[in-house]
């Protein structure tokens, strides 16, 4: 699912959207209540970041509208200047969190992530990627070169573990205890079997993604450093 934030006003404050872009969120800016419907993405808003510093009246009107909806837009983060802090008391019910401008970009990132987490949406899906390989830890999907892989649970877990530690060599025993988590029926040879199955599913072209390290074990790809 794409995360799409509503940002007020339009044009959007550059320091806000720069951070959103950096964190991989989508956003759309609006400057009035009227623009809301047209700008709304199909899957709805993930949340809203409203900067009240320049036009607080319009900003609160927008917040009120967002909260009045059948499905209120949450979470709602307010950016206010220090002199506006008193004003916030009147509108407590209209927002979930606030930040004082000027802000540090890391603070915005942290607050957005924490708000999404509090809203039970766990921030962006957690991904493990290596090259063309993407593993979505939330949906258990594995995609290689844009092609979804049909993996069994243990194949997925093994690939996830290897991809999370690119370039690192693991012995069969280490993989067994890290991935299977216990002395699995079949012993260390189970690892060989699963690696071979994974390679067959990755396809000939990508079979070498998981490399056998002679008399040691396996690794996925090269280290990034």
């Amino acid at each position: 699912m794409t995360e799409s934030f509503l940002v007020f006003p339009d044009p959007a404050p550059p320091d806000i959207v720069r951070q959103l872009d950096f964190d991989g969120y989508q956003w759309r800016a609006v400057s009035s209540v009227e623009q809301l419907v047209e700008a709304e993405p199909e899957e709805g808003w993930t949340g809203a970041i409203v900067d009240i510093t320049d036009n607080s009246e319009k900003a609160w009107a927008l917040c009120r509208e967002l909260r009045r909806r059948d499905v209120p837009v949450e979470p709602l983060l307010i950016l206010a200047s220090g002199s506006q802090l008193d004003e916030l008391a009147e509108f407590d019910e209209l927002f979930d969190e606030f930040m004082v401008t000027p802000f540090h970009s890391k603070e915005l990132e942290a607050r957005v992530r924490h708000l999404l987490w509090k809203a039970g949406r766990g921030a962006r899906p957690e991904l493990v990627t290596y090259g063309d390989l993407v593993l979505n830890l939330e949906t258990y999907q594995a995609v290689l070169d844009g092609r979804p892989l049909d993996l069994t649970y243990m194949e997925y877990e093994l690939l996830r573990f290897l991809a999370a530690h690119p370039g690192k060599v693991f012995s069969r025993e280490a993989l067994l205890s890290q991935v299977w988590g216990y002395e699995y029926y079949g012993g260390a040879r189970t690892v060989d079997v699963h690696v071979r199955r994974l390679r067959s599913k990755l396809g000939e072209e990508h079979a070498s993604l998981i490399q056998t390290v002679r008399s040691v074990g396996y690794k996925l790809g090269q280290g990034r450093w």
Binding site: T139, T152, Y153, Y185, A188, R189, V193, S200
Partner: protein, 443 residues
């Protein structure tokens, strides 16, 4: 809910699976399937699926007919050829109404034997060589139509059968069934696909899947694939040689540096057990009347209970392995054919081998001569025993076997004997074309 189950539920949602087939196997090794929709899946995991077992060969007697299919989440795969890949499948364990294991379930029988071996510290690994024929159709009323005239290792380009084999391999690989080799076998239209070793339970599941994939893909192209052990008189039959090894905490228990053929004492004892009980387990590894038409002299099928390192007429072979590949030391058991129930066949094979270990059987001397070149009388004199020559003889041997009774459990042991005796009785009363051709003109 267990994470595996959750994973499957997620996968079904994410991959747009519309139908889930729950697979299990009857006592004769026929694949059975119950289809459920994704909305029923969670209940299937939690409670299992109830069905009437009395309609399944070898399952319940009428008074205890209700059984429970519990899907094994570890076996979830999509079926790449079926309905745009929107069909998934899982193998099931069959349980009794009160959720205790069901004695008539072949998968349970194998699990039970594997866990016994596990208690002794061993896990059982298997790699089969699957042989089969492609025919024009599956109509038994006329002789099978061969699709090519190739022979062993022939590279017959652009023919239908080789295309089919290639396509089959890519489907198998996509389903996580890695293929080791594949080639054109000895006879015209005969093919072999060798699967890469895995633990015995997964392998039994894979063999069931393999037989279905091969047949389904052939049907899609208007052809017919057959695992009948001896479909054509005068040609090689189809076998299912099994490469076997045991692993323990220290690795391959069959391997011993410096030993003859690198084969450890455990390996030799396992092989001795297999040879010692070979005649008793043959009814299970070769379960059709037709199976015994493959096990005859003059073809590359074993006839005598014997072993050798590199002699293809022996019942058990010790394949040559690279000196540095300790994990590949193994033995090859050559009598089974692909019509067997893989769960039951692997159960009795494991039981025979484990008996050899627990009793410390002595391995008889290696047979180095080519058995094909010797007269039966000569071989008997040398103390060699033949494998059973008919289903009836094999059943007699099985009936006397405590080992097979224990390995299969009372339920399946009794049912199998009854069912197979009936098959033999029906066959025995049949007057064949051979008899007409041979006797009618003169008598």
């Amino acid at each position: 809910m267990e994470r595996q189950n959750e994973y499957v539920l997620r996968a079904v949602e994410e991959r747009g699976i519309k139908l889930i087939r729950l697979w299990f196997t009857d006592v004769l090794g026929q694949l059975k399937s119950v289809a459920i929709s994704p909305v029923e899946l969670e209940t299937a995991f939690e409670e299992g699926i109830h069905f009437d077992g009395s309609s399944i060969d070898g399952f319940s007697r009428i008074q205890e007919s209700d059984v429970l299919a519990r899907p094994d989440a570890n076996t979830f795969e999509t079926l790449p050829w079926a309905e745009d890949g929107s069909t998934g499948r899982m193998f099931c364990d069959i349980r009794q109404h009160d959720d205790s294991p069901f004695e008539g379930d072949p998968r349970y029988v194998l699990r039970r034997n594997l866990s016994k071996a596990q208690d002794a510290g061993y896990s059982f690994f298997v790699a089969p060589e699957m042989e089969f024929f492609y025919f024009g159709d599956g109509d038994p009323s006329h002789p099978p139509e061969l699709l090519d005239s190739g022979s062993y290792f022939d590279l017959t380009t652009s023919d239908v059968a080789s295309d089919l084999r290639r396509q089959t391999i890519s489907v198998l690989e996509a389903m996580g069934i890695p293929v080791e080799y594949s080639f054109h076998e000895d006879s015209p239209s005969q093919h072999e696909i060798d699967l890469r070793y895995t633990d015995a339970l997964s392998m039994a599941d894979q063999i069931m899947t393999f037989r279905l994939v091969v047949r389904e893909l052939a049907l899609e192209r208007g052809r017919f694939a057959s695992f009948m052990p001896k479909p054509i008189s005068g040609m090689q039959g189809s076998g299912m040689h099994l490469h076997l090894s045991l692993f323990d905490d220290n690795g391959n228990a069959f391997h011993q540096e410096g030993a003859e053929y690198s084969l450890s004492t455990v390996g030799r004892q396992f092989m001795a057990g297999l040879l010692h009980h070979a005649r008793e387990i043959t009814a299970v590894t070769n379960q059709l009347v037709n199976s015994y038409k493959r096990l005859v002299m003059g073809y590359e099928a074993p006839v005598w209970v014997s072993w050798a390192q590199n002699n293809r007429s022996a019942l058990v072979r010790v394949p040559v392995t690279k000196a540095d590949k300790t994990s590949s030391t193994r033995i090859e058991f050559r009598s089974p054919d692909p019509s067997c129930n893989p769960y039951l066949a692997l159960s009795v094979i494991l039981a025979a081998g484990m008996k050899g270990i627990s009793e410390g059987y002595e391995l008889p001397p290696e047979l180095t001569k080519n058995l094909f070149e010797h007269e039966p009388a000569e071989l008997r004199k040398a103390g060699l025993q033949p494998l059973p020559t008919s289903l009836a003889e094999a059943l007699d041997e099985m009936e006397k076997s405590e080992l097979v009774r224990e390995a299969l459990g009372e339920h399946i042991f009794e049912w199998f004997l009854r069912n197979k005796r009936a098959e033999w009785t029906s066959y025995k009363a049949h007057v064949s074309q051979w008899e007409m051709d041979r006797y009618l003109p003169s008598w």
